[in-house]
């Protein structure tokens, strides 16, 4: 299944949009949540960000979409310095966040939630074709298209959040734990969808995920955060071979694979 490629041209896009983050800081009062993060995502690249709860992963994504004020450092995207851009302008330029914990509008219908994802777009016809493609991909959502989104199960809400993100016509999609609350089967389907989007549209992905095994299987590179700093960066194979990381992030995954065989 293919989510149709959008034909619209965002005004502030360059064809080759890379994300470059230099020495980014975020503070919550006295808490120094990000302590000088530098990372980059090349056009068409899939980058995973791993780390324990409290490492700063969600703070990083919130800062990149513009919801969290930064306390130092620069963010460049598509050649422009976007550090001070509001979220709406970032979204129009193709930088889109699928937030943690779904954050759908429970009082609106499923269909309306998807339409909301396209708020910044003018190409109505393409939007409605993409909504159809998402319903085709997620039949559970299609069956409830006119129900209030609040009646969806947790997993269906997660699918809706991803669908809404796609409707914003992302060039670089940032996802904060897309497998949260999904069954093993749906987790597999969501990662298959991300893989398809990456292959078919050249979509870049910045992926925060506790499902280390799935994330590393998809990623070209990964960063590990600890207490607001990047402690390791490398290709998935390098990270899998790192004994320290193995214990914290991969240990039980290996056991699971053995249990499965």
């Amino acid at each position: 299944m293919q989510i149709e490629t959008s034909s619209h041209k965002p005004s502030e896009m360059t064809a080759e949009a890379s994300l470059e983050i230099h020495d980014l800081h975020v503070r919550y009062g006295r808490v120094h949540a990000l302590r000088g993060i530098s990372l980059n995502v090349a056009p068409g690249e899939v980058v995973a960000v791993l780390g324990a709860n409290g490492a700063g992963k969600s703070s990083l994504l919130k800062a990149l979409i513009g919801l969290q004020p930064t306390a130092g450092g620069r963010v460049r995207y598509g050649g422009a310095d976007i550090t001070d851009w509001p979220p709406s302008r970032r979204i129009r330029s193709g930088l889109v966040l699928v937030p943690e914990g779904r954050r759908i509008v429970t009082g609106l219908t499923v269909h309306e939630n998807l339409q909301m994802g396209a708020f910044a777009r003018a190409d109505r016809r393409a939007v409605s074709a993409e909504i159809d493609a998402i319903f085709h991909r997620f039949p559970n959502l299609a069956a409830r298209r006119n129900h209030a989104a609040g009646v969806l199960s947790g997993g269906e809400q997660q699918m809706l959040a991803i669908g809404r993100g796609l409707l914003a016509a992302p060039r670089l999609m940032m996802l904060d734990e897309p497998s949260l609350g999904l069954s093993p089967r749906l987790t597999g389907e969501v990662f298959a969808l991300l893989r398809d989007l990456h292959r078919e549209r050249g979509l870049s992905l910045l992926l925060v995920e506790q499902n280390t095994h799935q994330a590393l299987a998809l990623a070209d590179r990964a960063y590990v955060l600890e207490l607001g700093r990047v402690v390791v960066e490398g290709a998935p194979d390098q990270l899998r071979a790192d004994p320290l990381l193995h214990d914290a992030y991969l240990g039980s995954t290996e056991r699971r694979r053995n249990a499965a065989s």
Binding site: R185, Q210, G251, S252
Partner: protein, 263 residues
Amino acid sequence: MSEAPILMLDKVRKNFGGLAVVEDLSFSVRRNVCTGLIGPNGAGKTTVFNLITGVYPIDAGRILLDGADITRVPSRRRIHHGIARNFQNIRLMPHLSAIENVMVGQHCRNSGLFGNLQPVTLSPRNRWREEARAALVEAGLEDYARGAVRGLPYGVQKRIELVRALMAKPRLLLLDEPAAGLNSAETAALRELLARLCRQRGITLLVVEHDMHFVGALCDEVVVLNFGRKIAEGRPEAMRENALVKEAYFGLDSGQGQVCYAN
């Protein structure tokens, strides 16, 4: 005849509008037998929790706790019968601190005017506050005890909810995706915490969870739902081999072993 199960659902049905979301559902949870409730997204797992806790009235059937029919007991009273829970979509009070949120869970253990006032006293050496703090420490959350819970990482808020539920001193604890948002080291720590709680305090767990490694290590029994009906039950390792469960839950596509067991 062994003792009555701690929880029994007997031919329970629930409709939302014209849609049957739980149908003819019967299963039991035996005392001190940690039981998993698994199934595809939308199978009705969270709805079953809402029926057991009385958030929704059931349309047919009975719910028994320790042999006593609680079908008509209102939701707010069920905690006094020893049922506590957490929520899949976190429901903490965002402006309160972790300690204050946990102290909300102590409320049901007080009765009368003075009892009601006790937990809100501001004295820093208050025994209720101390109990809440100790419980957070036991769960490895001491670093997060003081500030507002708004903005704390998802996996941390999830564990604060667990600690709040424990404050009710439940005999039956319903956990909706307790390991969601935790990495594998944090998941292992949570599993040890839960196993210890069950052993030391005699709490029986009913757990909804998608991390099958977690379920396999923690649960002795598993009930599998699909479209609001029970399609299988038994030991976790038997469920992994069950054809119906494989198709509905794990998926049959290539690389299924990795899809199944990777969290």
